[in-house]
């Protein structure tokens, strides 16, 4: 029972919001790359928002449902089809036992998500169901998925969904000759959250080591365009572009902690942005940090895309953070009312 991974795709893993509280012991956080797309997909299926989901990149998986389920796709677009009929992102969809969901090659964006009502049933390891592939822990047997893997789905009452008694009604019809229903909910998701641009401007907060750079170096960073190289994975995105100049203090520091979105600049002067699977500590200067509201934009910008940085204050960044939290809450409320 649950879902059968008929074809696993290139790098498909089980993730949730990550393993919080163990970084002081050296455990990386892991968790989803695009927290917003993942949260929205979870909310659409009636989950609380932090249930385990599938994350995939470049080539998505093919999945056969071995029981009825409610699903939603989010993030990158992989030309999804359900039993041969196209399935859009950002809508909840009732699927039945035996249905086949096929995800193809990436078309738009970068990282995709499949949320299932109740959440995926893998053991919690140290408070999280996220896969840490490098340390072989959490998720499905601590590894990326392979053809033939089977994953259970948690019953709604065990998943803390809507306080355990949620019975979201699914209305509307999806695909005429199917008894599959679906809601036209995409309109509820703010349009700007659904954008997947190839050329992005992300806002950053300077620091903590901006004092290791020359004025010209900061100027370069804030005005020039950088290309997303193909050395990008869940650990970090390496960018290419004009060199960012360090001052006489150099490019190395005594190691300190690393946040999601930290922009390291080693002595070669090219930025490396630290992502979900980043190591807990590092010894390179960090010129700035991408604000959490703009991380999804960056995550969905695949190799070949371009990035510009715009410096804002931490106060402004936190205002956007709060606005987004409010939007999320509103979406959750609207969905509960449906």
């Amino acid at each position: 029972m649950g879902i059968l991974i008929e074809k696993a795709g290139i790098f498909t893993t089980v993730q949730d919001m990550g393993r919080e509280g163990y970084q002081k012991m050296g455990f990386r956080v892991s968790g989803v790359m695009d927290r917003r797309a993942y949260t929205v997909a979870n909310l659409l299926v009636g989950n609380d928002g932090t249930e385990a989901a599938l994350e995939f990149v470049m080539q998505g998986p093919t999945i056969v449902f071995e029981e009825d389920a409610v699903i939603a796709l989010g993030g990158g677009e992989f030309g999804a089809s359900l039993n041969g009929d196209p399935l859009l992102n950002d809508v909840a969809c009732q699927v039945h036992k035996g249905d086949r969901l096929e995800l193809g090659f990436i078309r738009k964006g970068n990282y995709g998500y499949l949320a299932v009502r109740g959440g995926l049933d893998v053991p919690k390891v140290m408070g999280s169901r996220s896969t840490d592939v490098k340390c072989r822990l959490g998720g499905y047997q601590g590894r990326k998925l392979q053809d033939g893997d089977r994953i259970g789905v948690l019953p709604v009452e065990h998943a803390g969904v809507n306080g355990g008694k949620g019975k979201r009604k699914l209305t509307g019809m999806f695909s005429g000759h199917h008894k599959t229903t679906c809601e036209s909910e995409a309109s509820l998701v703010p349009e700007v959250w659904q954008e997947k641009e190839r050329n992005v401007t992300v806002r950053v907060v300077l620091g903590p080591q901006e004092d290791y750079f020359t004025r010209a170096g900061i100027q370069t960073f804030a005005t020039q365009e950088y290309t997303v190289t193909d050395q990008c994975d869940r650990m970090g995105f390496r960018l290419d572009g004009p060199e960012i100049e360090h001052n006489e203090k150099g490019a190395d520091i005594i190691s300190d902690g690393i946040a999601f979105g930290s922009i390291q600049v080693p002595s070669h002067g090219k930025p490396i942005i630290m992502m979900a699977d980043r190591q807990t500590t590092g010894g390179y200067t960090k010129i700035a940090t991408v604000i959490s509201t703009d991380l999804p934009k960056l995550v969905q910008c695949r190799p070949g895309g371009t990035v510009r940085f715009r410096i804002i204050s931490v106060e402004e960044a936190q205002l956007y953070y709060r606005i987004e939290q409010e939007e999320c809450k509103k979406l959750k409320d609207k969905l509960t009312l449906l």
Binding site: G26, G257, T281, T289, Q318
Partner: protein
């Protein structure tokens, strides 16, 4: 007045509290003390604190507290920390079977130091090492205080797989590999205890600020501890 401690933003959801810019026991002690204070009275919204050689990274939820207020609170708490906080750090005993198949590079370390293998064991096990931080791998301790005589260059060609539990020396450092990992350290022994156990209440038996003492055990004791799983850290 010293520029430390100071609080800097690390994006909209993190801040870093810096206590210095050197690796030394005094800074290490302050950080240990600060972690203790945070445990007692962390400001609301603080989710996680990550200590390193010279700083503590604070992750927080800006929906609960904004940077300006957090910075003030963190600065105020930093006024209360002391550097003579060693009493609070535990001494964690780690049994080690040295040499032979358990420590294939012990002979090289001895030769490099101009000591006998027995002398190397005596010096390595004869002191306590402060854990400055855990990183690189889950539970990998960055230890201070290795006997200078035991400084040994890393392997020219790193091993593809170092088994979990290996105790080694790399340059001026010594430590334990909690997981199988590639690595270039000289391996001098193996511990029979499971350093990383995700199902134990504390998956790693020590934390930054504790001290490690290596306790030599014979092959028989190694096997007994390994089989029974019984060891008082």
């Amino acid at each position: 007045m010293s520029e430390y401690p100071r609080v800097l933003p690390a994006g909209d959801c993190s801040a870093v509290v810096e206590f210095g810019n050197t690796i030394c026991e005094q800074t290490g002690g302050r950080i240990k003390s600060y972690m203790h204070i945070l445990k007692q009275s962390a400001p609301e919204g603080v989710a996680e604190a990550v200590p390193t050689f010279r700083s503590v990274l604070i992750q927080y939820d800006p929906a609960k507290i904004l940077y300006g207020e957090l910075k003030q609170r963190l600065e105020a708490l930093a006024q209360n920390c002391t550097s003579d906080d060693q009493a609070q750090g535990r001494v964690v005993r780690i049994p080690v079977c040295y040499g032979g198949a358990y420590g294939p590079d012990l002979a090289f370390v001895a030769q490099n130091a101009g000591l006998t293998e027995k002398e190397v064991i005596g010096r390595h096990a004869g002191r306590e090492y402060l854990i400055y931080m855990l990183g690189f791998l889950p539970g990998f301790p960055y230890l201070g205080g290795l006997d200078e005589k035991l400084y040994t260059p890393r392997l020219e060609t790193p091993r593809v797989r170092i088994p979990a539990g290996s105790v080694g020396i790399g340059g001026e450092q010594t430590g334990i590999y909690p997981l199988d990992s590639p690595g270039g350290w000289q391996l001098i022994g193996t511990t029979p205890v499971t350093v990383y156990d995700p199902d134990r209440e504390q998956p790693i038996p020590y934390q930054a600020g504790d001290r490690i003492r290596f306790c030599p055990v014979s092959e028989e004791e190694f096997k007994r501890i390994k089989e029974s799983g019984v060891w008082e850290f």
